[in-house]
């Protein structure tokens, strides 16, 4: 069965007809071609499908697409328009090598965005807890932690105060 939904994705209002079996991650990937959303487990454990739903991070494999009617979604694609226009968090990950294969990275960046939004100056321990829902198998998180520390500095430097 297909149902119509209205959502705002990365600032743009969208009307979609979607299969009721479809999860949000698939809707974003298949219907809207937002392939920065990755599916690593589809059981809510790895966090590679993390997106922002009404301003909070969710694992989009655990949300049915039909249930997001009327809501606002943000994916990593909203953060930059091109290679020369990266978000300060993305720049921090690039410069600190906070990634290897890049599969968990877009979700890790959104988790960072949510963390730094709530806590602009986190301790190492707070950073580790802030990204505990996002698995990375390549980096051992060392350079991710460093990237997030650097991102916090970059955002602080860019803020008006």
């Amino acid at each position: 069965m297909r149902v119509p939904i209205r959502v705002t994705v990365n600032g743009e209002p969208r009307q979609l007809e979607i299969d009721t079996r479809m999860i949000l991650a698939e809707m974003l990937r298949e219907e809207l071609r937002l392939t920065g959303v990755h599916i690593g487990c589809a059981t809510g454990n790895c966090g590679a499908c993390t997106v922002m739903l009404d301003g909070r991070t969710v694992k989009s494999c655990c949300v049915l697409a039909a249930d997001v009617d009327g809501q606002e979604i943000k994916t990593v694609e909203a953060l930059s328009s091109g290679m020369d226009d990266l978000h300060p968090i993305q720049e921090a990950f690039v410069e600190n090598q906070g990634l290897q294969c890049g599969f968990c990275t877009p979700a890790m960046i959104l988790a960072t965005l949510a963390l730094l939004d709530e806590n602009p100056n986190p301790t190492e321990e707070e950073i580790r807890h802030g990204i505990a829902g996002n698995l990375c198998r390549c980096t051992g998180y060392h350079f991710i932690v460093k990237s997030i520390q650097d991102a916090a500095r970059r955002l602080a430097a860019a803020s008006p105060e």
Partner: protein
Amino acid sequence: MATSELLQERRHVGKRYTGLTNRELVAGKGTFVSDIQLPGMAYMAVLRSPHAHARIISIDSSGAEALSGVLYVMTGREAQEHMKPIPEAWNTREIGAKGVDWYALAPERVRYVGEAVAAVVADDKFTAYQALDLIEVEYEVLPAVVDPEDAMEPTSFLVEPEWKDNILVTRDFHRGDVERALAEAEHVASGMVRSERITGVSLEPRGSVAQYDSFRDELVLWESTQNPHPLRTFLAETLEIPETRIRVIQPNVGGAFGLKQPPFQEQPLIAYLARKLRRPIKWIEERDENFQSTGHSRDVKFYYTVAFEGDGTITAIDIKVIADVGAPTALLGWGMAFVTAYSLPTVYKIPNNRIHLFVVVTNKCPWNAYRGFGKDSASFLMDRVIDKVAHETGLDRSVVRLKNFIQPDEFPYPQSSGAVLDSGNYPAALKRVLELVDYEGFPKLQAQARREGRYLGLGIGQELTPEGCAMPGAVMISAYDGATVRVAPSGDVTVLTGVTSPGCGNETAMAQIAAEFLGCEIGRIRVIQGDTETCPYGLGNYSSRATMYGGSAVQIAATDLREKLLRVAARMLEVDPGDLDAGDGHVSVRGAPDRFVAFDQVVNQIYRHTFGEFAEGEEPGLEATRYFRMGNIYHQPEKQGRFSNYPAWPNGTAACVVEVDPETGQVKILRYCLVDDAGTIVNPLLAVANLHGGITQGIGSAVYEQLAYDSDGQLKTATLMDYTIPTAVELPLFEIEHQETPSPFTPLGTKGIGESGVGAALGALCSAVENAFPELELRLDELPLTPSRVWRAIQDARAAGDVR
């Protein structure tokens, strides 16, 4: 040789560069196989065996076929009739081991939970999975063999009825007179050391998109693989079509760690179906399929007896290795057991040694390559043995290691397996890591913590990670690779390699090496990997070979072009080519840097003034394809089936500090230090990044990860909820240093770093937990160090009243 001259002043090699692909990946603009969408693309789903061992009596697919949107249902009978068995990655039968005919779908019998039985192709994913439920398979359930030591009993049920036992292969390496040395020894100790089954868990599962163009007669497979060219060879053999009609493309790969080495059942399956149905098809592995069928490792048990003197000198060791490699297939995983035996007794010179290997098959998921590739197990065993000797003699753990190390001036050092260790400086690495961790100061810290009720322990781990494997007769596993370096008329440079990157950054090293030896700016270089149509033939990524072999091939190809460029530039500058230096986009006269021509000007002469005064006599074009062949591979088999198939021997020493909660058995890692020696480092940033990943996977397997089977051969841990890989919370920041003992056999001295960091973690953590309780006779010889295991060991040790 010219190399050392050229590298008098290195501009790029040895420098810190961030990954070339970082920007696209942080933006979510990588292209992983699941991101590929083709017009009219159908979806494949695979029905897998729910039984560890069963005969397939019948398959009724009529219900599935009747479902609207289902295009085709295929079973093992069709695979057997229309396809060849899948070729072996690790030419098992050529080296005296037993093999099996493995088909894209099991025709008659399934040997593990997860073995592919049938496939559905449908218009979309939902329909494909719905149809799987409608396939009715009648099985006759057969007895499953789950425990390897049971499997070795003569009365055991057989995994393969045609085999007369469950032994895939044995090896018996020996040197000296072990029995006599044990009999005459001052001290003898023995023990059992064991690690549970683990797997790699790349965050991106496996996946394929296959498309057949009937007008071009071309099959294209986009595959999350490490080895596009060998996969093409395997597909050609299985499908019986010309290799030149197949193109394999590796998109971005979301981690592999060895587990994306072909050949899998789904690869020829999807290729066959795309060709048959004339529809592009996608298949993306589900996480539970990944756990059930992509491949496992470790699951190894050692029995050892060691003889030693009061000063810690080890005089003999007798080791029995029992490796449970699961069901036999075409995958190369069982080779890890071979490498475990081959690597022993690792970094130690033990005059009398015997390594008796039993590679045992069971009704579990087959082994497939995973980072560490058996070397981790060998290092783990030796760490446990050394700590045992230290415990028995009362000597310090570091003293026993220093006493028995092969010394830096003793290389090349032959081990009893036929292995010839190339180079190393083990004492220096150990001494340095002890400084890093403040070994001297630790007892004071430990005592102080104990007064606060905290149990701290310090552990030492020593790893040896032979790399660059070459197996006689294997198409995928060899010690060479190719590269093309191509300069366009603009001066832009393309580097194409036969090696690939599964996401660890070797493309960046390729660009550094090309810029270094060509003399261009690094920003002018684009690196292309993983396409059988555009890249030179090569074997891809495994055994930490990419920078070692691929980088060396880039170096010699770039050097060829450099020589031509310098000849032309020499005429332009009216000097001898030997007086020139090239770098960062300029060719200049040594000692007179104001006399130079731009790289682009020289290129311009070659392309646009081919018949002008400077390029006269030069062959047109600026493109070179060269292959690097490793020097120290010795394949002529010796007695006992020995040969030297690993040319490079990276190594490292770890020291870690843990805090153990005796009430819960929880182990918290407070510090982790590693001094790693992988020869010359091309990119210190990415090298360290690789070590972080290796250490973390070592820690994961040492403390958190375990694949559990029940007695019926059912896998009980097939989700990331049950199989718990480390999160950020479990880990400290790592403290890492490089020691560079260059390989004498690669032009830059590189050795490979991709698997480093894993092996030392296992022994280091066991050692650290034991050390947290110096008052107890605590032995932790089994992995993983789960809270229950640690707690139980503490309770047992306390109950035994072994208070020293």
